[in-house]
Amino acid sequence: MKILVCISHVPDTTSKINFTENNTKFDSNGVQYVINPYDEFALTRAMWFKEKQGANITVISVGDASVEPTLRKALAIGADNAIRVNALATDGFVVAKELAEVIKNNTYDLILAGKESIDYNGGMVPGMVATLLDYNFVNACVNLEIEEDKATASREIDGGKEVLSCNLPLVIAGQKGLVEEKDLRIPNMRGIMMARKKPLTIVESTTNETTTATTSFEKPAPKSACKLIDADNVEELINLLHNEAKII
């Protein structure tokens, strides 16, 4: 089985979010970049298939050279090879088109990605890739089993889950449940050494038609301080929720 795992290179969850150039650019100063947490679930599930059923794993990212350390980390975790599409990932639709183009020129049975990236939170790339290629697609996937060319996947729905079946090729947008957080992999020294020798191919961009662009960023208005209520006076909390917040 040939698996492609789509990797987003994103600021670490704990990063301070700031903007420069009159709030038009993300300030990457001092920001640590990581594999998008949702993509880690996808990569770990791919590793599970590799170890249990046998698979070849390619990881792919759309970005400039700065994304390569993130791809090398994915290789250190156990992916076999990496592709970087040399384009800036400024628009989810463009990223999807770039990925679809690579997939068209190769054959993958399974394309795994996280359900969204933690920077732009668009949640659009996997579904768009699937639609551009007319592949099946399961969003918010919390379980996936493959038997020959048949897949059984579960997706989270509001208040429950749905089990779906289909043929490969398939695109999955995964989340926690695809694997558990305790099963996520950390690269070991041997993996890091081996990753240096694994192939990282650079593919040139094929599209430059953007559909969306960020004109500016904003931060939420500063929050007023937390109103502290005496533990012996819970009635005051009820009063505030009723009269001030008008919630109850």
């Binding site: 939170n121 969003n139 931060k219």
Partner: protein, 320 residues
Amino acid sequence: MSVLVLAESSKGKFKKSSFEVVSYGKKVAEQLETNLVVLTINATENETLYKYGAEKVLTVSNEALATFNVKIIANIVKQAAEKEKAQVIVLDSNANGLYVAPLVAVNLDAGYASNAVALPSSLSPFVVKRKAFSNKAFNNSEISTEVKVISLAKNSYGVFEDEVSGTSENFSPEIISTNLTSESIEQTTGKVTIADADIVVSGGRGLKGPENWEMIEELASVLDAATACSKPVSDLGWRPHSEHVGQTGKPVASNLYIAIGISGAIQHLAGINSSKVKVVINTDPEAPFFKAADYGIVGDAFEVVPKLIEKLKEFKANNA
């Protein structure tokens, strides 16, 4: 020209979030000086949408659509958008809405902005504000394509009545074939779900063990709220994973989020930032959650929560 909204229904009935997307769509249609068309699938109360400004309701009734199939629904939205010459298509940010929206965008070669939190601030260029960086910021996204797709973040706009004398029209779209099959659906029984709840009561490690969840459930019951938990609690198996709220768990956009015995790790706060009012009850006055909360009680949950339940019951009885 028109604005098209997909108003989802469950067992024929619309959810509150469907009225929110219709209210939003109505205002966008006014901004664009065009009409609002609402597409419904196997809904039984279509006329209720007139109250929120639906001038025309395109109703699809088809047994084959009893279960949600993303490819089929996205194709139906495409057909409706083409029939109505829709310039803007608005969808919900629930599990189905977020599933179908990117497919609709590709089907119509349209730019897509998810998690929109406000009306377009400009029409030419078309700019809409959306959530980014796990609710730590917003970005103003310019959609440059002729047709635009927006999914509206839950509880970000509100439900507004704007009664019109609407009309309904039966619509019989082509149903495409697909080999993606729904095998089964497991619903959480009877309880309010985190996605639908206006109020969420959440417990953390401070509750010391699963045996102490009864008071969380009782508080949730008094408030007609959903129950939730922090990541360590679900990792420890005290509560199901489906209740885990946070960056890698469920996002919460409720009106009120009550965090009990949760310190407020950054990953947890990323999941609840969209909630309007946050209350924290924690013994540790230095817990980071106090910086994110609107109201706080420094105290022992085992003393505070039972008192809160008792006083809320009295409040409910007096305000019934």
